[in-house]
């Protein structure tokens, strides 16, 4: 959190402005223990951070660091074992419409058309059918899928499904949009496109995003702040502020500041010797070893 002195003055100002915004989510000393026959497993320990309005937070960490568990706890799908979690100052008790979630596995309702999937939240909230539908169509417009309103999920590509899932979560106008490795199952090109779409949507919609990922580029590209977790037990290693101006685009990936941030994240997660891969023992399976040269 400290050490903004190395940043560009404009970025220092931007983070000062973010700090001045009201806190949406406050996590204090959160812990999670999974009881198991072989002894309790500490999944998360002493997690404390706060998320301010319209911030874009990414949470990254090695596998087994409990980042998905943390997302599920914030969503209310999983109870926490200790500590506190406050949404707008009120403790979170269970899942509700104020924390919409986008999962890696799409989770669209296959029996509902695209527009009806997006209407799901608003109509649960008691809107009339017509009101919910016009609302839903607006959100489909936001994610650029108006033309597919009446298609069914099985007719869409993975990227389109995930855009519908985003629209469906946003249609509830949640305080927080939680995304648990939402682009993990997509191919590289679609993922890059969706990252850009998400940034655009975030600019156009009043929503705070908490985005779980294991992709360093994704984490640094999207976030205002990256929460880096360490594994066993899952704990916060560092919260990295990304000193990159918005809006960000594909060209940001070549920005020296981006690369520096990315290298810093990589060192945090894999240690300083990250790039050195342990060599395999030399075992020749072919008599001619020179034809690959």
């Amino acid at each position: 959190m400290s050490g903004r002195s190395h940043m560009d003055p404009a970025m220092q100002e931007r983070f000062a402005r973010i700090d001045a915004r009201p806190v949406v989510l406050e996590v204090k000393n959160l812990g999670k223990i999974f009881p198991s026959p072989g002894g309790d497993v500490v999944a998360l320990q002493n997690i404390s951070f706060s998320v301010r309005r319209r911030e874009f937070i990414t949470i990254i960490g090695p596998s087994g660091c409990g980042k998905s568990t943390l997302a599920r706890i914030i969503a209310g799908l999983e109870p926490h074992s200790s500590g506190e979690m406050l949404l707008d100052g009120r403790p979170v008790t269970g899942p509700d419409r104020d924390r919409g979630m986008v999962f890696q596995g799409y989770t669209l309702f296959p029996w509902l058309s695209v527009v009806r999937n997006v209407m799901f939240g608003p109509s649960l909230a008691g809107h009339t059918n017509a009101a919910a539908e016009s609302e839903a169509r607006q959100w489909l417009e936001v994610v650029g899928l108006s033309a597919f309103a009446d298609a069914y999920p099985h007719q869409l590509s993975g990227g389109m499904k995930q855009r519908v899932a985003i629209a469906r979560a946003l249609a509830n106008r949640p305080r927080i949009l939680l995304m648990d490795e939402p682009f993990g199952a997509l191919d590289a090109q679609t993922r890059v496109a969706l990252q850009q779409h998400l940034l655009q949507i975030w600019m156009n919609v009043n929503v705070t995003v908490i985005f779980i990922t294991h992709d360093l580029d994704e984490a640094a590209l999207l976030a205002d702040r990256v929460i880096v977790l360490a594994a066993r037990p899952g704990r916060i290693q560092e919260i990295v502020e990304v000193p990159l101006p918005i809006p960000r685009g594909p060209q940001t990936l070549h920005d020296p500041l981006f690369l520096a941030t990315r290298r810093h994240l990589e060192e945090l997660i894999h240690g300083p010797a990250a790039t050195a891969v342990e060599p395999l023992p030399v075992t020749r399976m072919t008599p001619v070893g020179d034809d690959v040269w």
Binding site: W111, L124, Y152
Partner: protein, 364 residues
């Protein structure tokens, strides 16, 4: 050139159809060979000429061994040998006889007190429909509740697990004592035969729903009851439908037992009665009729499942979707009209109410 045997590879359409036809042609060919080729099987002799025998009768059907023994005896006694044609036992009529019976069984007036075959058949169908209706009416909701709530699963399933091992026909005498001798005990047997399985099968189907859909719905604000009505029930519909299709097949199995308790009736009574008259061609006609009804109704239901749940499994062809739209129009029309009217009126009412509110604001 694709191979006929390739692991997990679908055959070209032409071959698929050819094999599907062969599935029925091959058994008929085998049956024809046994029936029409005299040196295949034919363990009996149909006597055409008694010769010098004192006890053989013309048109009598007799096993080969005593017939040959009789001829040896006659030859030794210097009398004329008896003659006859190789024949199959009467319980195996030839295909053409069964084919004729399939027509005549429906066109021949029944013996006194019996019913026409189509009447018997219709009676059987109503028994199945009523038994299955009651089983589904209670079994489907109960199964869904068991699959959704641990409370119902623990309370209901152990007892049902216990009862389902009791064969439904074992309840026959009891059902007659309770419900009398006519249709009611038969319906009860169908109910017992399908209900207990249905609850367990549907509970399992309900448990198999994708848990992440439930979680997604929760983060969209669905409460417990909405999870059930808006996610679980629509989500399991296609699987529930195919479960019911399988269970309907079971109902046909129990029908045969059910119809023989109390006052016999329906297609099983017809088959039994024809057996007593030794009219085995009619017996086969009855059995084949049940098979045809089962196969055709199942195919229709499978097709219906594909068009009603296009998002599940193999999607239906465009032609069948259109066909379904046209056929189901009378059923869907009132529903569409109703939703159209209610949604339109609801919106009109909201607009009017908002207008009044705005008017009041202006006045004040």
């Amino acid at each position: 050139m694709t191979r006929w045997f390739a692991v997990r590879r679908e055959l070209p359409l032409g071959r698929q159809l050819a094999l599907m036809v062969m599935a029925f042609v091959l058994p008929v060919v085998a049956w024809s060979l046994v029936s029409y080729v005299p040196w295949i099987w034919h363990p009996q002799i149909l006597v055409t000429d008694t010769g010098g025998s004192t006890w053989l009768r013309v048109d009598q059907q007799i096993d080969r061994t005593p017939f040959q023994a009789e001829n040896i005896r006659l030859a030794a006694a210097g009398k004329n040998p008896a003659r006859g044609d190789p024949a199959n036992p009467i319980f195996l009529p030839a295909p053409h006889e069964v084919a004729t019976a399939l027509v005549t069984a429906y066109s021949t007036p029944p013996r006194r007190g019996d019913k026409w075959l189509h009447e018997a058949l219709w009676h059987s169908i109503t028994i199945i429909a009523r038994g299955f209706f009651w089983a589904a009416l209670i079994g489907v909701p109960l199964g869904i509740l068991c699959g959704t709530y641990g409370f119902f699963a623990r309370l209901v399933e152990p007892f049902i697990d216990f009862v389902r091992y009791m064969p439904a026909p074992a309840f026959g005498a009891l059902m007659v004592a309770i419900f009398g001798i006519y249709d009611a005990p038969k319906i009860a047997i169908i109910f017992i035969g399908t209900f207990f399985q249905m609850v367990l099968v549907i509970a399992n189907t309900t448990r198999r729903i994708d848990g992440s859909l439930l979680e997604a719905a929760q983060t969209l604000g669905a409460g417990d009851r909405q999870l059930l009505t808006r996610v679980v029930v629509p989500g399991i519909m296609p699987n529930l439908y195919s479960d019911l299709r399988v269970l309907l097949g079971w109902a046909w199995t129990y029908l045969i037992i059910a119809e023989l308790i109390g006052a016999s009736s329906g297609i099983s009574y017809f088959i039994n009665q024809q057996g007593k008259y030794r009219a085995y061609d009619n017996v086969f006609a009855g059995i084949i009729t049940i098979g045809i009804i089962g196969l055709v109704s199942d195919q229709i239901l499978a097709w219906l499942g594909r068009v009603v749940f296009p998002w599940h499994g193999t999607p239906p062809s465009r032609a069948s979707t259109i066909c379904f739209r046209v056929l189901s129009w009378p059923v869907r029309a009132p529903w569409i009209f109703l939703t159209w009217v209610t949604s339109g009126r609801m919106d009109a009412m909201t607009v009017a109410a908002e207008g009044r509110l705005q008017g009041q604001e202006k006045q004040s």
